[in-house]
Symmetry: C2
Subunit: 205 residues, 2 copies
């Protein structure tokens, strides 16, 4: 009925997790907001692809030539955490404890979906390793079957190099009761169990 | 870390039902979409407040001077459905059976929230009634307590006029089992029960 509104609703509906009903709600919400606020949203969306691009070194998002992490002299450039997508970098950074750098693969291997090794940034990772600065690769691709396959693949490809290759520990998420843990996680938590050091043990080491 | 992305996430987070996590998801989704699609969304948002305004007659949204319904000669201008907000017009139009016109009040009475009669378009409704063309007001404000209060208020204000005042029937929603109906709805459905005409009855009328 009102073309501009329906066009906006169509655009909103195309976004993930936003159905037609939510799209209408968002559109009508904007109609009730001040002009400046709506203009700010439009500008933020309209400029995002021009302002943000992939860091040529780690392939995370950046506004500058290289990303904040790659140019940060305080980061340990000898440790590289390999992740699937740029969001993963933000997720790990929010935890605030990792001091190395990153390499965004751009996906995980999935032959069914046509994601073969040449579709991921594995060659680029090899080129970074060639420079000889990197001592450890931390494989942080997640717990899915495809992610594990990809980690095994990377371990096989880069295994022959003079390099420590690790992956994230599998186990119980913090603050969860055993009742809510699936069996695979529980099995992995058991297999990867670590020694509890008591005061006496520590004295002995 | 990436200012443009964080700015976009901030903007998305301000929208209703979109939390910070969804906002990140939307922002990163846009990064992966073609430039044209993102530009289209930005344009649709950026122009919405300029293109769409309130119809000066019924106060629904319109791009033209008056809205499609008010200018449509086939609509029955003697029947006016009073609704709370512009979305309600779209909702009733989607059902496709109503042939009258509308009046958007702009809210319902709610003294606690400072919504007094002068904050609603009640005076404007009076001016429309003054023209003498309107025979029936259908109060379609919904089933909330504030909506019912507003309907009673309107019935009292416009009651003295030569006018039929009706409201939407209360009762069972289509396709629902009794198990899922709340007691108030059930009570109303019982109070507002209507005669079932059998073939024999109809013959008698």
């Amino acid at each position: 009925m009102v073309n501009a509104l329906e066009r906006l609703v169509d655009c909103f509906s195309r976004l993930p997790t936003i159905g037609r009903k939510s799209a209408w709600r968002l559109a009508l919400h904007l109609m009730e907001r001040p002009e400046e606020e709506v203009a700010e949203l439009a500008l933020a969306i309209g400029t995002i692809k021009k302002l943000v691009h992939l860091c040529p070194e780690c392939f995370s998002y950046t506004e500058g030539e290289r990303c904040d992490i790659c140019v940060d002299g305080r980061r340990d450039r000898s440790v590289v955490c390999v992740v699937e997508k740029p969001t993963d970098v933000f997720t790990i950074e929010r935890a605030g404890r990792y001091r190395g750098v990153y390499h965004v693969l751009g996906g995980v291997l999935s032959p069914i979906d046509g994601v073969t090794p040449d579709r991921l940034r594995i060659e680029e990772l090899g080129q970074r390793l060639d420079k000889g600065e990197i001592r450890e690769l931390i494989l942080g691709l997640g717990g899915s079957a495809d992610a594990e396959t990809t980690e095994l693949y990377l371990a096989r490809v880069f295994g022959p190099r003079q390099l420590r290759i690790t992956r994230f520990a599998r186990g119980l998420p913090a603050g969860t009761e055993l009742d809510y843990i699936d069996q695979l996680t529980l099995t992995q938590a058991l297999q990867e169990r670590i020694e509890v050091r008591t005061g006496r043990d520590e004295g002995a080491h």
